[in-house]
């Protein structure tokens, strides 16, 4: 029995790690993110794990060596909300699978819907992003967001944390014209009372759903004879038990305040996402309750006509000053490659360079509860590494090499393939 277990473990090791997962990166400038930058050092990766960091490392003979002279080593970036692998071409309905029908779909896992062959994955990788949250949308409870590596043959290969959070799209009362289109949507309520009525209705539905889930939890614990499994309510149990956070998308201050109230009433562990507007009171409460925040694009127009031009540019630095844990996300599939620039855009508006970098690496890992594996270059963590010829957040920087769990990843994309094709065209 014991022998079997050992063979099984050895087998597991054999498929997850190989000799190619062991190598030394020499003479590199290391940005571990968890601590200060270290110039001219080496990183030893053994079986996909960062085994040692130091200027002079003793490594086994025959270890593959990567010359890092003049290059910078970073942890791979994490995009904290994307539709990668679920939305290929916006205008082609058949290639878009981000939303399911119905108001409550807690049993759905976005990761299952991810297409590992999406053309957007290599493009995101080429800019230094190694992992991302796959975020489902549609309805009120849209499903479970999962954290994935941006490379793999199947979604199981890519899986880092398949149930990272439950996505709750918090209802809003919005009488404003659709911000992107500048016109009233067909669904925009005609008056505030109408909007409020619909909002109250949705909120009631949500409350009832949580009540049902709690009743189900009790019934299950009691284990009566008549108990039958309900997939939807079953999926709510980790949320009720506080094991799984609820990722609540709420854009404007009223929605954020309402979401915080709701979380307090229902005693939920939440992550706020997509927030674009804060008041000092809200920031204090978010800080006091230790709620992390996922921020959408930095370079966006102000929400209201009379807002200062930099209303949204300064949000990251405000959050940082307040001591709130936050990370950036693109909420997109084709724009994931812009994640580093989204973080960089906050730097001229008061966010320190190191904190911008944290917001796309270590802080994201902390928010998603995977900081023991990813988010920084530290002994014992996965070797999710990016070797770049400059500052990771700088647009002109080129990514030279990337590893996921020590495995070298292909950096060619549809763009590079086309570039090569036309560059080799005979005159």
């Amino acid at each position: 029995m014991k022998r079997h277990l050992v063979t099984f473990l050895a087998f597991c090791l054999a498929i997850t790690a190989g000799p190619q997962d062991t190598f030394l990166i020499r003479d590199v400038t290391l940005h571990p993110v968890s601590g200060p930058d270290i110039p001219l050092t080496s990183v030893f990766v053994e079986d996909g794990i960062v085994a040692d960091v130091g200027p002079k490392l003793a490594v086994p003979k025959g270890t593959k060596v990567v010359d890092g002279k003049g290059l910078h080593l970073y942890p791979g970036m994490i995009d904290s909300a994307t539709t990668l692998g679920m939305a290929e071409i916006g205008a082609v309905r058949e290639t878009t699978d981000v939303a399911e029908l119905g108001d409550f779909n807690p049993q759905l896992r976005a990761l299952v819907a991810v297409n590992p062959s999406s053309e957007h994955l290599p493009v995101a990788r080429a800019n230094g992003i190694t992992s991302a949250i796959a975020l489902p949308s549609g309805g009120i409870i849209a499903g479970q967001a999962g954290l994935m590596h941006l490379d793999g043959w199947t979604w199981e290969d890519m899986d880092i944390k398949r149930s990272a959070a439950m996505h709750l799209r918090f209802p809003t009362i919005s009488l404003q014209a659709d911000e992107s289109m500048g016109r009233r949507g067909a669904d925009t309520p005609a008056s505030f009372s109408e909007g409020k009525r619909r909002y109250d209705e949705t909120l009631q539905k949500l409350r009832i759903f949580f009540e049902d889930a709690r009743r189900y939890q009790k019934a299950k614990a009691a284990g009566g004879a008549g108990f039958t499994v309900d997939r939807k309510l079953e999926a709510m149990l980790p949320v009720l038990e506080g094991k799984q956070p609820v990722m609540v998308t709420a854009g404007r201050k009223r929605a954020i305040a309402d979401a915080l109230d709701f979380a307090k009433r229902e005693n939920l562990k939440i992550i706020l996402a997509g927030c674009r507007e804060f008041t000092p009171e809200l920031l204090k409460e978010i800080k006091a309750r230790g709620v992390p925040v996922i921020l959408p694009e930095t370079l966006a127009l102000p929400l209201d006509e009379d807002d200062p031009y930099d209303a949204l540019f300064t949000i990251p630095s405000q959050l940082h000053r307040e001591g709130i844990l936050f990370a950036f996300a693109t909420f997109d599939s084709s724009a994931v490659r812009n994640l580093p620039y989204q973080a960089a855009a906050a730097v001229p508006f008061g966010l320190e360079r190191e904190d911008a970098l944290k917001a796309v690496t270590l802080n994201a890992a902390k928010i998603w509860g995977v900081e023991d594996r990813v988010g920084s270059v530290d002994k014992g963590k996965w070797a999710d590494l990016v070797l770049a010829d400059g500052d990771l957040l700088e647009t002109k920087t080129q990514i030279k090499q990337m590893w996921m769990r020590g495995r070298s990843v292909d950096l060619s994309t549809r763009h590079t393939k086309l570039a090569d094709k036309y560059a080799s065209r005979p005159d």
């Binding site: 009362i173 009488l175 404003q176 008056s191 505030f192 009372s193 009223r254 209201d304 006509e305 009379d306």
Partner: protein, 434 residues
Amino acid sequence: MRISMIAATLAAAALCSAAGPALPVIAIRNATVHTASGPVLEKSTVVVRNGLIEAVGPSVTAPADAWVLEAPSLHVYPGLTDAMSSWGLPAATPPAAGPGAATAPPPPARGPEDRPSNSSWVRAQDLVNPSDRTVTAARNAGFTTAAVFPTAGIFAGQGALVNLAGEKAGQMTVATPLGQYLSLSPRGFTSFPGSLMGVVAYVRQVYLDADAYRAEKAAYAANPRGARRPAYDRALEGVLESPRLLLPAVWAKELVRMTELAAEFKRPTILYGAHDAARVAPYLAKSGAAVLVSLKWPERARDPDPEADEALRILELRENAPAAPAALAKAGVKFAFYAGGVERPADLRAAVKKAIDAGLDREAAVRALTLSAAEIYGVADHTGSIEPGKIANLTITDGALFQTSTKIKFVLIDGVKYEPAPEAPARQQQEEKR
């Protein structure tokens, strides 16, 4: 023999109805007469005969055959004219396309050659319904006359000046066509023109096409033999028939933009909306454009989001709009008022009073509701003021027109007296009741 006699009788009947039945001679005696074209005449008499004003003045005596209305405390105004409205038109003017147009959505347009959103040939006088509820509503508000326009589409159609009483639509028409009504609403992303810029380009193209079409038709008419005939284009026919064009412009930048656009078309232009006109009044005066100011002053939304901040731009417009007429008057811009959907008499009085409170001279306000509209549409020689020989459209009130307590006593339209229905209680009281 018999047949021809019947025909003769019918012809006589037709003649009779065209001229209308004999009308009573009316003399309004001892009233304060606001002629609009001249000074206010105290203790004067207005004599109306056969639907026309026969005489006016302090020394005029009522003829022996006249029905004399003693009016020592009454004010007589020229019939109020709504300079742009849809009184008497069906609620949603159909785009008047082919059969089945009501059910099937129009196919997406590929470009200006498809003439999307264009019913320029539609004439308001053909759509007027004398028994429409709004005709009575307008009269109740003191209006005797309105410039009515179809409003559906970018090129909505041609307006007509109508008197707001009559058994048949034909009797109501005073002058037509007044001009082409344009709106600038894009048609959405799926069809040309999908944006404001597209709409402006489209309007420009239609006017270019119309001028080319006219030249082509003239050349063909002069020498048809051996030439290919130009294809008939009703959309351009309608544009060519219209003596002037009406363009929407509320904000200052829109007023300037539309003035510049209209200058390219070399046609008389009327800008409507004009709430932000105070900022560009001297510019408008120089351009020579006529302006119609909506009496529907911008208001805060009925049921707004209590937490939403309104933009400063919106607040400013709300504050400044009622001062636009005074600014236009001062700069010497030809302007008139239109109700813009304000229907209740009390609301109308309040709306005009706002403009007066913001600096508009009282008689200028009267003019903007009477003679100015007639002048803008080129019909001031036979209507719009109280002068002998003009159409007997009069509005008679029991006090100065725009005081809150003033009531409309009656109106004369084509010399016929109409009394308004009793005024409904003010909106506030109604809401409290609910």
